[in-house]
């Protein structure tokens, strides 16, 4: 029986194998530079230019400059990776042009890494080899036992711990891939050996001994223990597994971010790209696709958490055969940037997810709706669409299957409400992006009144992985109600900001402390804000709760698109609640009264409170108004807008009371409720505060204690910031 799709895929994979043969050659030195909006902002382009100059000047032909997307390690960018043949890959943080010169001469030419600039490297020499033990707690891993046993065995044999690093990783995503007879043999631990890129499957002490003797000491790969599985995050861990920020994550949606060149179809195909699509088109069975998604328990990653399989089924059973599929890339939540990163770093994966979705629901056309503020994401998706068309992956007769489907991009224009699906549809139609009443839901009557499925970027990013590794595998990663992983954009007062992908059900504290490195400046955690302007606050006392749709909702917040802002004791909850309401008020489209007027009045009351003019009755008014707005608004924006107010009232009522009753802002943030004083005992009379005061309200002469004229002071805080003797008090 002819298998045209299979043949098409095989021909493409063979071509890619040949064209990448050079890159994968043994002797090749690979230098990797990130290329995404955040990397560019940090200066990665100047770094890449400098590297090109160095490579050219050296005359070496064996150095390859590899451009990749962004790994999501924002606060340390630009990141530069160096891979010498047979050596552990090394990543450098905050690279600039001077550092490029050092890295090039000392590491690439000289063979010695510049240790003090290595990403997240504390001190001491770098290891030469590494064994990473998979210790995922959610996928029935074996815990730290085997790793500790192995470390003890190393000590017994007297192997130097300086050259060999024994580390732990959260998840390679290998669990559940093993064939049945292996699974029945009992729990196994996966061990990744770097730089040999070998994955071992270890079940007992003899296996550990075999790896120690054969692999570490003997220098031979122990073939009988080699895992047959090809876990999804292997390529990522192989490059980034030594960094705690990365190896405590479970990368599924972000598996290729920072690994592939986002503009190269070949590299995506090399990571098994379009294999899932080939499988789907070969089977020609949309029910199988939806069945796998049902098993995967995949829920919409845009915030609603609605079952993707159910949504696709509803569109599929419509009588109307003209159907559309839309990718919602109108990422408007302040503090969330995972969609941008995925569109910029792994565009082909999103395109593949959309094509599969189009096939499953029987659509003929699909749309990317991307906000105009993301020019690079738009360019990369446009380029990916054109490349796919040129290679028979989009357009007519996709992969020789006889099925036609095409994609196009529509730009947003800076309206937050367009993230709401009915508003988004209006915007694609070229109208003002105002929502309408649901039902009918878009799966009934959507774009131009035809059945339409709208999913978030991250939802599409998971599709190919689920079909490639099975729905059961994906479900196992998550919780009973929601399968898989979720990407969070970790920002705010946390040491390591960036993108974090963890299994659903991971405790919040683990994300903030283990991966994020805790609160900055040695301050105490106060709350974690999730879900953006539609979300709420999780107080520090609840930080051990599991991240999943239902628990977050119960705590008065939402998952939302995955923004996670860490707030410390320096943050005033009334002020932050005001910030979110100001956002929603500004973005309210004005169509329905509860949202238009409700958010405005909520903002007025909050402003009054932060100015020290609040009254006790304001708290009741806030609650009543918030509930009204929640119950009667037309769309999700208005219904969710009061969440920050309600959850801050619920968890931080004391702070509201302090503002109203004591006229005091505990976080010393609300300008109207603080003033600055100079402590005469600490002031040495250096005059720096007086010189920096914009309104010249600080009196005093040299070597004498200064005094602030409270009547003239504008409370800008300059004196507080510039005083070198901590003599200015904020009270």
């Amino acid at each position: 029986m002819p298998q045209p799709v299979h043949d098409f895929y095989q021909a493409m994979a063979d071509r890619v194998g040949r064209s990448l043969a050079d890159r994968d050659a043994e002797h090749q030195v690979v230098v990797q530079v990130g290329s995404a909006t955040c990397e560019h902002a940090a200066g990665s382009q100047a770094v890449a230019d400098e590297l090109v100059r160095h490579i050219r000047a050296s005359g070496r032909k064996d150095i390859l400059l590899h451009r990749t997307g962004c790994t999501g390690r924002c606060s340390r960018e630009p990141i530069l990776g160096v891979r010498l043949p047979g050596r552990l890959p090394v990543k450098y943080e905050r690279v600039n042009r001077d550092l490029v010169h050092r890295i090039f001469t000392e590491h690439i030419q000289g063979g010695t890494p510049v240790a003090q600039h290595v990403l997240d490297h504390e001190a001491g020499p770098l290891p030469e080899r590494e064994l990473l033990f998979c210790e995922g707690s959610r996928c029935h891993g074996s815990g730290p036992g085997p790793r500790e046993r192995f470390a003890a065995m190393l000590a017994e044999r007297g192997v130097s711990r300086e050259s060999v690093r024994i580390g732990a990783a959260s998840c390679f995503g290998a669990c559940g891939l093993a064939s049945d007879h292996l699974a029945s043999a009992g729990p196994a631990t996966y061990v990744l050996a770097r730089p040999e890129k070998v994955l071992y499957r270890v079940t007992g002490e003899e296996d550990l001994a075999a790896i120690l003797d054969g692999h570490l000491i003997g220098g031979q790969v122990v073939e009988r223990l080699r895992a047959q599985e090809e876990p999804i995050a292997l390529a990522f861990m192989e490059r980034y597994g030594d960094v705690a920020f990365f190896n405590r994550q479970s990368r599924v949606a972000l598996r290729n971010a920072g690994v592939v060149d986002p503009e190269s179809l070949d590299e995506y195909v090399d990571m098994d790209g379009f294999k899932a699509l080939a499988d789907v088109l070969e089977r020609r069975d949309p029910d199988w696709v939806i069945g796998e998604l049902t098993k995967a328990r995949l829920r919409g990653r845009g915030g609603g958490g609605y079952s993707t399989a159910a949504k696709w089924t509803m569109a599929r059973k419509q009588a109307d055969a003209t159907r559309f599929i839309i990718c919602n890339g109108d990422e408007g939540d302040p503090g969330a940037f995972m969609d941008r990163s995925m569109l910029e770093s792994d565009p082909f994966n999103i395109v593949e997810g959309m094509i599969i979705g189009g096939f499953a629901i029987g659509a003929q056309r699909g749309f990317f709706y991307i906000r105009a503020e993301y020019p690079l994401a738009i360019r990369r998706i446009q380029q990916a669409i054109e490349t796919c068309r040129a290679h028979g992956l989009l357009g007519r007769n996709i992969m020789d299957s006889g099925w036609d489907f095409d994609l196009e991009i529509r730009l947003g224009a800076g309206a937050f409400v367009c993230g709401e699906e009915t508003a988004l549809i209006r915007s694609i139609e070229g109208e003002r992006g105002q929502p309408r009443v649901r039902p009918p839901y878009p799966t009934d009557r959507g774009l131009w009144d035809h059945p339409t499925v709208i999913n978030n970027v991250e939802t599409f990013a998971n599709i190919s992985a689920i079909l490639r590794y099975s729905g059961d595998w994906y479900a196992r990663l998550g919780t009973e109600k929601s399968g898989g992983t979720k990407v969070f954009a970790l920002a705010g007062k946390v040491r390591h900001t960036g993108l974090v992908e963890v299994p659903l059900g991971t405790p919040l504290a683990r994300v903030v402390n283990d991966i994020g490195g805790g609160v900055t400046g040695g301050r105490e955690l106060k709350a974690i804000q999730t879900g953006g302007p539609a979300g709420g606050f999780i107080p520090a006392s609840m930080q051990h709760m599991e991240v999943d749709f239902e628990p977050l909702q119960k705590a008065g917040s939402i998952m939302g698109s995955g923004g996670m802002i860490v707030l410390s004791e320096d943050d005033c909850m009334v002020d932050i609640a005001k910030f979110y309401i100001a956002f929603s008020q500004d973005e309210s489209c004005g169509k329905c009264t509860p949202c238009r007027e409700g958010t405005t009045r909520l903002l007025e009351i909050l402003e009054r409170i932060t100015q020290g003019k609040g009254e006790l009755s304001d708290l009741d008014k806030l609650e009543r108004l918030a509930r009204l707005c929640q119950r009667t608004s037309l769309c999700g924006l208005g219904r969710a807008a009061p969440n920050p107010v309600l959850s801050s009232l619920k968890h931080f009522r004391g702070e509201f009371l302090a503002h109203i009753v004591d006229r005091h802002c505990p976080a010393k943030k609300c300008v109207a409720l603080i003033h600055y004083e100079i402590n005469p005992e600490k002031c040495v009379g250096c005059t720096i505060c007086a010189r920096n005061c914009p309104v010249a309200c600080i009196a005093g002469t040299r070597k004498e204690a200064h005094v602030i004229d409270q009547a003239a002071c504008v409370k800008c805080g300059n004196c507080f910031d510039v005083c070198k003797f901590a003599a200015v008090d904020r009270v």
Binding site: C38, A42, G332, F337, G414, G430, Q529, F579
Partner: protein
């Protein structure tokens, strides 16, 4: 095209010439190329993006020309142009400064940076400096929260910024503007 099926006025060819003269060639080609496509009116936002990319803003004449050539009521074109924040109806300076006031930037002190920019430039949000070099606007999250607080000037993102770094940053752009002016 000499006759317009929707507006059988006797002076359409003359009007059309006038309107076509107001828009750049790529916009005209885009409108013409999509005229007969199904749902071509849905490309209004894309068209307005192109016009704004070219002129830097959407003037009353531009809106009218787009309305006439796409055969969409001017009321609707204006409605769309005023609904979306991204569209500017006033001309702006050579460099658009967008201060990110997203959550991450806000908690890291974006307000102080914004205040410093206003002090240095002597303008508020939505205004253009007297020399026509800078326009100041605020934006919601440019998606580089790891670098908070950030300011976007043109298409370049700068961060993390302190108020103290603002004057030097503006200087570099003033110098660049002077250089570009010298070339012209």
């Amino acid at each position: 095209m000499t006759t317009c099926p929707h507006c059988p006025t006797d002076n359409w060819p003359e009007l059309e010439r006038g309107y076509r003269a107001m828009l750049p060639g790529d916009v005209l080609a885009f409108i013409d190329g999509n005229r007969d496509r199904e749902h071509s009116e849905s490309l209004l936002i894309a068209t307005l993006h192109m016009v704004q990319d070219h002129f830097g803003h959407l003037g009353p004449g531009h809106l009218e020309a787009v309305a006439q050539l796409m055969q969409i009521p001017l009321a609707k074109v204006t409605g769309v142009a005023t609904f979306y924040h991204y569209f500017r109806l006033q001309p702006r300076g050579r460099y658009l400064i967008n201060v990110c006031l997203g959550t991450a930037c806000y908690v890291k002190g974006a307000e102080k940076v914004a205040q410093k920019l206003m002090d240095e430039l002597g303008i508020h949000f939505g205004e253009t400096s007297k020399d026509g070099v800078f326009s100041l606007e605020s934006t919601r999250c440019v998606g580089t929260c790891g670098l908070a607080p950030v300011v976007m000037i043109g298409e370049e993102v700068h961060g993390p910024l302190t108020p103290g770094q603002v004057p030097a940053l503006l200087e570099t752009y003033l110098a660049r503007a002077a250089e570009e002016m010298a070339k012209v």
